[in-house]
């Protein structure tokens, strides 16, 4: 156990020498609140989960002998009688990026001690997240109506459905969990629960939210565009 008062170490040495002294010196290795390093470890494990999903998707897509359904057509929306490819997905992408922006600003205001702006920016982030989940629910119902199932679909390789539902479903669950997490954080921050303490808790919630956005970058590129 390392006591809170043991701050003799400075964590200022840069580069590899700093790396060595961080790990070798008689002090805690990571110069950050425990919640933050725990969030990082969690995100690292989550990275592996999503990577395994995407790698298995790659594997079944390479090995499928039936043609892979064209995502551009599958996810097209009809607007004024014209088919616009991937429209909903593009809107969802922009919404998630915007929510990531508001979250980054929330973290910044939290460290400046501006509680009011922090709370509102977190709530805005959660609302963007909720609208993302809503659009995903719409997309799922549309595809299910058109006959996409985990074991088959009308357009080609039957692995398409299982990959789609697993990957986007797992990501959607992360967004849903994130919305709840953010609202809870906003409530605690606004109620003065962290008064007098630093608001690292907002940064930690922010890490999670940015990660969800990061995962979407890969899903968008590999599942929807590829």
């Amino acid at each position: 156990m390392i006591s809170e008062t043991d701050k003799s170490a400075t964590y200022t040495e840069p580069g590899v020498a700093g790396l060595v002294s961080d790990w070798a010196a008689d002090r805690q290795t990571f110069d950050m609140p425990w919640g933050k390093i725990m969030m990082w470890i969690f995100l690292l494990s989550d990275t592996f989960i999503f990577s395994v999903f995407l790698v298995s998707y790659m594997n079944v897509r390479i090995s499928a002998t039936d043609p892979w359904p064209n995502a551009s057509e599958v996810f097209a929306l009809q607007i004024f009688g014209e088919y616009v490819p991937l429209l909903l997905i593009a809107i969802m992408t922009f919404i998630l990026i915007t929510s990531s922006g508001t979250m980054a600003m929330a973290v910044n205001y939290a460290y400046r001690g501006d509680i009011k702006k922090t709370v509102w920016l977190i709530v805005a982030t959660a609302l963007f997240g909720a609208s993302f989940v809503g659009m995903q629910a719409f997309e799922w119902s549309k595809l299910i109506e058109e006959g996409v199932r985990p074991w088959g679909n009308p357009w080609g390789a039957s692995q398409f459905g299982s990959a789609f539902f697993m990957i986007t479903g797992f990501h959607g669950l992360h967004v849903t969990g994130g919305v709840i997490y953010l609202l809870w954080t906003a409530r605690r921050v606004s109620s003065g629960y962290y008064e007098g303490k630093d608001l690292a808790i907002v940064e930690i919630a922010g890490l999670y939210w940015h990660f969800v956005d990061l995962v979407w970058v890969f899903i968008f590129a590999f599942f929807y565009l590829w």
Binding site: D31, L44, N59, R61, G206, H210, V217, L225
Partner: protein, 105 residues
């Protein structure tokens, strides 16, 4: 703690990153909208994907300002994923060729 001090960046930085992410996403979408196909499509998708991921990790998630100790913890394990991608791509090709050989009999 040193992190707390390093969190002070102007809001403008985040707005710039936000704009850049928007632009890269718009380009990605344009790849599909204009139906670019083949090797050029895959190259462009990756060219627009990696800067987005890099910006989110380094700026939004502040990894750029973290100490090397954390960076190694985050990035060294990813080499295992790179190995997995290579192995599963080889395996997928093998399965595909095997299916071509035996499914049509």
């Amino acid at each position: 703690m040193s992190e707390t001090a390093s969190q002070q960046h102007p809001i403008g930085l985040y707005l710039k990153i936000w704009l850049l992410l928007f632009v890269f996403s718009a380009f990605s979408y344009a790849v599909d909208y204009y139906q670019v196909q083949g090797a050029l499509r895959w190259t462009l998708i990756l060219i627009f994907m990696f800067p987005k991921a890099g910006l989110i990790i380094s700026i939004s998630m502040h990894v750029r300002w973290e100490r090397l100790s954390l960076k190694y913890v985050l990035f060294l394990p990813l080499t295992a994923i790179a190995v997995l991608i290579i192995l599963m791509a080889i395996e997928g090709d093998y399965t595909y060729l095997t299916r071509l050989l035996f499914f049509d009999r």
